[in-house]
Symmetry: D2
Subunit: 101 residues, 4 copies
Amino acid sequence: MKVMIDLCVVPMGVGLSVSKYVAACQKVFKDSGLDHRMHAYGTNVEGDWDEVFAAVKRCHETVHEMGAARINTSMRIGTRTDRDQSMDDKVESVKKLLSDV
Amino acid sequence: MKVMIDLCVVPMGVGLSVSKYVAACQKVFKDSGLDHRMHAYGTNVEGDWDEVFAAVKRCHETVHEMGAARINTSMRIGTRTDRDQSMDDKVESVKKLLSDV
Amino acid sequence: MKVMIDLCVVPMGVGLSVSKYVAACQKVFKDSGLDHRMHAYGTNVEGDWDEVFAAVKRCHETVHEMGAARINTSMRIGTRTDRDQSMDDKVESVKKLLSDV
Amino acid sequence: MKVMIDLCVVPMGVGLSVSKYVAACQKVFKDSGLDHRMHAYGTNVEGDWDEVFAAVKRCHETVHEMGAARINTSMRIGTRTDRDQSMDDKVESVKKLLSDV
């Protein structure tokens, strides 16, 4: 089963600046080999369900190892069986509609 | 690693009434043996990370098998290494503060 | 327009225990007169769109006033025009299906 | 109070393809004059709290007017009082850390 997720990992109890924890998660996704893209309030990741969730677990483990004792992540999870749709496909289908207006 | 999640599974392309899909997910959680509680806009589930996410995957598989070709789930994921805190603990700590006012 | 939300307000930079901030938000919802119910990982609130979002804004203002310099909230927002459905209706429709099994 | 949100608006009961509803929301944000950026699983929007939430409400109204009787949106909401941080600032601070590795 293929999945596309969007997640935002928020470490708690480590002060107000969390960019080094976000960077560590980006490295986890890079090392996983999964297609992923960071935006200003989270990261899109797509791939095989088990591989994607293994990477999410590794994010939590990594951020805990860095010293954050509590983590609160929010995530969207999308699966579909009717057809294969990449992150590019989703963005392009909306952009095409907008340019047609 | 223990985890507490709150998830809301939304099947798409099956009309406006989705309660039978929500009920099917409740049955998945019941069969998993994990501690879980439904509320009006999602379900809390807690337990071992791998067991919880295996149940989430089984939810998606089940809802697809029931005929929903597309699913959009939103989820919160909480982990902490400082102490063990159950769903009851979280609710009680807030209720205690409210009753003290 | 009526709305049902589920929200989880997470103050950052205030340490690991956040129950006093959660309690303050419960008080905001109570004072608002809106129907609301806390669970272990968030709170359901329903009512008129403008009243509900005024209360959400008041939560953020209150938690900032208590000293949290950064807040990260996750929220689900549900609206429907086909019929009026309360929090009780949603839970009951699923429970009925589960008891019929 | 300035706010940054990330939202994903999901119309229900309108079939599997929802790109025209997503495009309509993009038009709402464009017309609002608010800084916004679409990604593959949602949209970042930043600006004054009241203006941002007026645009979110207009999204729901627009999607209902287009014929979707039920909408389920998931949203992250970030506010901070310690400093002003734009969407670009957030992305840059992480990218800088990644390039320093």
